[in-house]
Symmetry: C2
Subunit: 180 residues, 2 copies
């Protein structure tokens, strides 16, 4: 199983070109979005966290669901959450049902922060990825990425993680402010 016998199936010319474009493009996107948010004092990965919280029912999410959602390690999320907590944007609350669990809750200040930053961020996303790509092609990109996503994160349908969906059902839908 771990012995790579024979010649691997190298990439074709076309595959290679597309893959390279992806690799470099994705790094540039990350860099651009991050830079724009940095000027408002957050990293993209931090923004993603509070943004996800802001859209969740009750503006709260369990650590592990959130970690899966933003594709970060548990440990990383723990550290980042601590950081966000120090800024007063989130608080931790322990789960009622599962006493191992911790929920991260967006504070009012956190909510305000997301609102403000969303303006910057949406403009940033437009400039970096939406504007340069004609809509049908961007659609295709989304479709492709969705296939990849479902291959790599089996079970997470519709951008939703099973655990998240489960939790969602358990709450009132209080904040459908889905903006970004």
């Amino acid at each position: 199983m771990s012995t790579p016998s024979g010649e691997p199936q190298w990439l074709s010319e076309d595959e290679q070109r597309a893959w390279r474009a992806y690799l470099r493009g994705s790094r540039l996107i990350e860099e651009a979005l991050d830079r724009d948010l940095q000027s408002h004092g957050v990293q993209l990965t931090e923004y993603e966290i509070i943004s996800m919280l802001s859209e969740s029912p009750g503006r709260r999410l369990r650590m592990s669901s959130l970690a899966d959602l933003v594709v970060q390690s548990r440990s990383r999320l723990t550290h980042t959450a601590t950081r966000l907590e120090k800024r007063g944007w989130v608080v931790r609350e322990s789960c009622l049902d599962d006493k191992r669990g911790v929920e991260l809750v967006l504070t009012e200040r956190g909510w305000q922060a997301v609102q403000d930053m969303a303006r910057v961020h949406v403009a940033s996303v437009r400039r970096a990825v939406l504007d340069p790509v004609p809509p049908p092609l961007f659609s295709a990109l989304g479709e492709a990425m969705d296939l990849i996503r479902s291959a790599l994160a089996p079970g997470g349908a519709d951008g939703e993680h099973p655990a998240v969906a489960r939790e969602a059902r358990a709450h009132e839908a209080t904040a459908p402010h889905t903006r970004l």
Copy 2:
């Protein structure tokens, strides 16, 4: 300039869906590829560096060109290069013409390492991104990313950075082993 007047242009339903798919998918790809290379003792970003070197004429590239190519900060590349140097995969050589400059040169050992790891990596790329996406759709993804790339890194045509192209012309094409 820094006052975001009025309501920004929020994303449409479709744009949002596609953008989300991209964001999560790209993180998952990164994670998957990195995990597979980790088992061989390198990070994806390190692999990218030596891989680029391995394809360059003379198996060498100037620090700043390389930094642009792999979309890393100069400083980051400096650190990473030091690390790679300690493993005996690269050596630094100062530029003949521009005495500020430093060229990173792939050693024989480094070359071997790339060859070995390329097998793992190409399989990894297939599994993560090529297999789940039908070829025409993957092509579209490449095209979209290329548009984004040229918007964000103006001047870098054909996956090639101007500085790199310039340097390429100055060398014999010794290693056209373009594999990944």
